[in-house]
């Protein structure tokens, strides 16, 4: 997987004498110390790579520096230290004009509060990026209409933003970002302002679009469920630092520290986990021989539970070549749901069945 976007040791400090602040941060000073001096360290030593066609989610609470980080990726903010490379090109070395060119053609952005221009019709909003590029009117309207249709807004071209619901407005925002054919999308809490149902809808639509468009997407959110649903990989930020980067399963199963662990407590893991994540790989070799129902490594947790309920023995997991790769005992499934990694203790009741009688 080749990296389209690469961030290396990015720092962003607001306030007086930022360079000195970066030096102190490198020496191990933390945010609170700097805040006492009136400087705010928004992003501290952030490094990551985003591969082509990947959805990379940056997750963190408000104030964790994720929006600042995003704005350094398209040069809206200049890093105090470190570098951002887009297709190998260092953004900090680009002139303002080259940066604008890059933003208008290569990297587009979707905003939290939609940021639609209220004085432009839906079509003119979607065509905005093309207008900036200087595309002739007829062509840009055609491409804007296509982008709108892609986002399910065919027929709304001549409406005005304030006539649309929040979800539809954000579809316009998405269409505006897609219309330019930029292959990198930066999405800044793009679905946070929407109702939960609509948010689900938009997430589904984004995943659907992504199947065909294969854009490189950096998605910011404060909602871990959203991060897990959308993200191929997730970076968790806290107080300006990236504390863990990994797939949804990495984070869920191997939280890097207590902070991340506390975060994942209320995550609905049944939606995230797959058979591959929960299966036991110590095999006897004959578990799949009985001809019962089996699962694949990417079978979701909920489906796995359903299969397990129908079987009297652990579920066998076979890969695409029909080779046995793992087995999931029912007790494992229950343990994951209850966040209990240990093995069951032996029952110390003599009667053995007294409890069952009640």
């Amino acid at each position: 997987m080749s990296a389209r976007l690469e961030a290396e040791h990015l720092f962003k400090v607001f306030g007086r004498r930022p360079d000195e602040a970066v030096k102190r941060l490198r020496e191990g000073a933390d945010r609170a110390e700097l805040r006492a001096d009136g400087t705010t360290a928004a992003v501290i030593d952030a490094s990551f790579r985003v591969g082509a066609g990947e959805i990379f989610v940056v997750m963190g609470l408000s104030g964790s520096g994720k929006s600042t980080l995003l704005r350094m990726l398209n040069g809206l903010l200049e890093p105090t230290a470190g570098s951002v490379r887009f297709d190998g090109q260092d953004l900090t070395a680009l002139s303002d004009r080259a940066l604008r060119e890059l933003r208008s053609k290569k990297i587009s952005m979707v905003f939290q509060h939609f940021a639609l221009f209220p004085h432009r019709s839906v079509r003119d909003n979607a065509a905005y990026g093309l207008e900036v590029q200087g595309v002739p009117r007829a062509e840009r309207e055609r491409r804007a209409d296509e982008a709108l249709a892609l986002c399910g807004l065919a027929g709304w071209e001549t409406s005005w933003p304030d006539e649309l619901s929040g979800g539809m407005q954000q579809r316009v925002g998405l269409a505006r970002a897609l219309a330019t054919d930029a292959d990198v999308l930066l999405m800044d809490e793009s679905f946070s302002a929407l109702d939960p149902l609509i948010r689900r809808d938009m997430q589904d639509q984004l995943l659907e679009l992504q199947k065909t468009l294969r854009k490189t997407i950096v998605f910011i959110t404060h909602d871990l469920n959203e991060a897990m649903r959308l993200g191929d990989r997730i970076a968790v930020m806290r107080d300006g630092r990236i504390v863990q980067t990994g797939t949804a399963e990495d984070i869920l199963l191997r939280p890097a520290n207590d902070y991340v662990a506390s975060f994942i407590q209320d995550v609905d893991r049944s939606r995230v986990l797959t058979a591959a994540a929960v299966m036991d790989t110590e095999l006897r070799g004959d578990e799949a021989d009985c001809g019962c129902e089996t699962a694949a490594p990417d079978t979701p947790f909920t489906e796995l539970c359903a299969i397990s309920a129908r079987l009297s023995h652990p579920v066998a997991v076979l890969d695409t070549a029909r080779t046995l790769v793992g087995v999931v005992p029912r007790q494992r499934l229950v343990g994951f749901l209850g966040d209990e990694p240990g093995a069951p203790a032996a029952c110390d009741n003599d009667g053995g069945k007294v409890i069952g009688r009640a």
């Binding site: 933003r103 905003f111 221009f117 209220p118």
Partner: protein, 606 residues
């Protein structure tokens, strides 16, 4: 604390500017006057009702049928009050001031919105412009640009500038930061962000600023009237000067009509210009009274009316030709008379206007407040004025400008200054009686402008002579305020003591009693002088000689004043003509065009 000579610094700064940058001021003045003349010519070219129609169509287009009808009614009212030319000249002045104010203030506002430093630097300057009493700014404006339109425009402009800058800055700063960021995120250049996002979204606020600029400009018109811009402001000043409530109200109504028209039309223009406003307007249900013609229809309407107006203008202008009388001494030379709206000033000014026109001169008369009148005369922008009370009342002006003026002598006198009570105040007949009756008058003497020579004399000398210091306070105010107080007290038969002078129309309107001055504290009284700019008598020896020899008796003066009073506002010259017809021979006596032309020229030079 040491005294900081701030005033001196300003004085010398202004002097330096006048000395070194006069070319710049002249250029600016030429531009402003050119714009003003152009707009005024366009506005006054058609018949008043036709122009009212054109303005009404504009209102119809922008505001709907009701707006159009009301606009027409308003302007028709102005016309029927005989204030049309004045209203159009005021409109032209306000438009010129507004255009210039916007050309300056909108870019400044944009700049301030983009730079905190500029914004911080501009703010105190705007505060100064907006709150510095406008009269204070009027004086340097006069020195830089002379009397008339340019000074008026500048004073209006300065006053009206601040809201334009502030509202533009506010409007741009108010634009949602996320929208600006969105534009940036799509690679928009800063200039395009301004044009495509910030200005369109700030437009409603900016238009509110434009509206404020116009309204402040209109409110400044009255003050600008003091430096001879004429128009409705001049009319209001005249009315104030003569305590003419009715005329003042009429002129005020004229200003109100203009104000409402401009307010509504610019408000609606803001809606039309902004895409959001247009949309909101298009959504609103249309009813008969809010029906608006489409822009094309409106333009056609205006053009047709304008063409009709143009056609009428062509036919109209060929009709009237001026007849030159036989005794053409002036041969069309121009003479500019300035006057203060006092009765004897108006009478003598229009008398000379009539006489000089009879003799073939082209005469313009303009009304000023006393200060600007003297400044204008001293700087040579006026030729002469006939109403200078010397040596006492106008002593301050004479000390300041005397060296730049020629005194062409007295034509009426002596005048007298006095304290006056209504005659129903029984026991008070002399200044000496005042002390005992202080409580009756509440210890107050109603004065006039504190700058008047008479007030100085009263405070420094008269009060002292009669031992009134401490028992009486002199209330500083203005001549109209004094007259209003007199009128009010008179109507209720309350005791009142005012500063007054003779001749004054108050003596014929009210039954008043001049307090005797046994100690002669007021001095001997002034003569009414004619003052001319330096060198006027050399340029126009004949006129100089006439003015030097000019004098009027009390009977003639009061008779002429009564005639003018009877004829009413705006018909002064007709009254003079009537009066001259009743007194044949006076023109020839005052402006002889006898054979000995050479003799009088010699007299004029000496």
């Amino acid at each position: 604390m040491p005294r900081i000579p701030l005033g001196d610094w300003v004085d010398s700064g202004v002097d330096w500017l006048v000395d070194h940058l006069s070319w710049l001021f002249d250029a600016v003045k030429a531009v402003m006057e050119g714009m003003y003349d152009g707009i005024d010519a366009v506005l006054t070219a058609p018949e008043p009702l036709l122009m009212a129609g054109i303005l009404a169509v504009v209102a119809w287009w922008l505001r709907g049928l009701l707006g159009g009808v009301l606009a027409f009614a308003g302007f028709a009212l102005v016309d029927s009050l005989d204030l049309w030319d004045r209203a159009m000249s005021t409109l032209a002045l306000v438009l010129v001031a507004t255009v210039i104010a916007l050309v300056i203030s909108i870019p400044l506002g944009i700049w301030a919105a983009r730079s905190k430093a500029v914004s911080a630097a501009l703010r105190p300057v705007l505060d100064l412009l907006q709150t510095m009493p406008s009269m204070v700014l009027l004086i340097p404006a006069m020195l830089f640009f002379g009397l008339g339109t340019a000074a008026g425009v500048v004073a209006t402009l300065i006053f009206a500038l601040a809201p334009g800058v502030r509202m533009t800055e506010l409007g741009i700063r108010q634009v949602d930061a996320e929208l600006v960021e969105a534009a940036e995120a799509f690679g928009t250049t800063p200039r395009d962000i301004l044009w495509r996002v910030q200005l369109p979204l700030a437009l409603p606020t900016i238009m509110a600023g434009v509206n404020q600029v116009i309204m402040l400009g209109l409110s400044m018109v009255v003050i600008a009237g003091m430096v001879g811009t004429g128009g409705l402001g001049g009319a209001v000043n005249e009315a104030i000067g003569q305590l003419d409530i009715g005329y003042g109200f009429e002129a005020g109504v004229g200003i109100v009509v203009l104000a409402i028209y401009l307010d509504r039309v610019t408000g609606a223009l803001g809606t039309q210009l902004s895409p959001l406003g247009r949309r909101a307007a298009a959504k609103a249900p249309t009813r008969a009274w809010s029906y608006r013609p489409r822009p094309a229809v409106a333009v056609v309407g205006v053009v047709v009316l304008a063409l009709v107006a143009g056609g009428l203008g062509i036919f109209g202008s060929s009709a009237g030709t001026s007849e030159a009388s036989g005794t053409n001494v002036g041969k069309g030379e121009e003479i500019r008379i300035g006057y203060i709206p006092w009765d004897e000033g108006i009478a003598s000014t229009f008398l000379w206007k009539e006489i000089l026109e009879e003799r073939g001169f082209k005469v313009t008369t303009t009304q000023y407040a006393a200060g600007p009148l003297y400044t204008g005369l001293a700087t040579g922008q006026l030729d002469f004025q006939t109403d200078s009370w010397l040596p006492t009342t106008h002593a301050e002006y004479w000390t300041k400008y005397g060296k730049q003026l020629d005194d062409l002598g007295t034509w009426y006198g002596p005048t007298s200054l006095e304290l006056t009570v209504p005659s129903y105040v029984k026991d008070v007949n002399s200044l000496a009686d005042l002390k005992a009756h202080a409580s009756e008058f509440d210890g107050k003497i109603i004065g006039i402008e504190p700058s008047a020579g008479m007030m100085g004399l009263l405070k420094d000398k008269v009060l002292k002579e009669y031992g009134l210091e401490g028992t009486y306070d002199v209330v500083d105010g203005s001549t109209p305020a004094m007259l209003a107080e007199l009128k009010r007290a008179y109507a209720r038969k309350q005791p009142v003591v005012v500063t007054l002078w003779s001749p004054h129309w108050a003596y014929s309107d009210y039954d008043l009693k001049k307090l005797k001055d046994p100690k002669g504290a007021w001095g001997k009284g002034d003569g009414v002088h004619t003052l001319a700019r330096k060198g006027f008598a050399d340029d126009h020896p004949q006129v100089g000689a006439w003015l030097k020899d000019f004098s009027m008796t009390e009977e003639q003066l009061t008779g002429l004043e009564a005639q003018i009073q009877k004829a009413g506002k705006g018909k002064e010259q007709d009254a003079v003509r009537t009066w001259l017809r009743q007194h044949p021979g006076l023109i020839d006596a005052w402006a002889p065009v006898a054979a000995e032309d050479a003799g009088s020229r010699a007299a004029g030079v000496s």
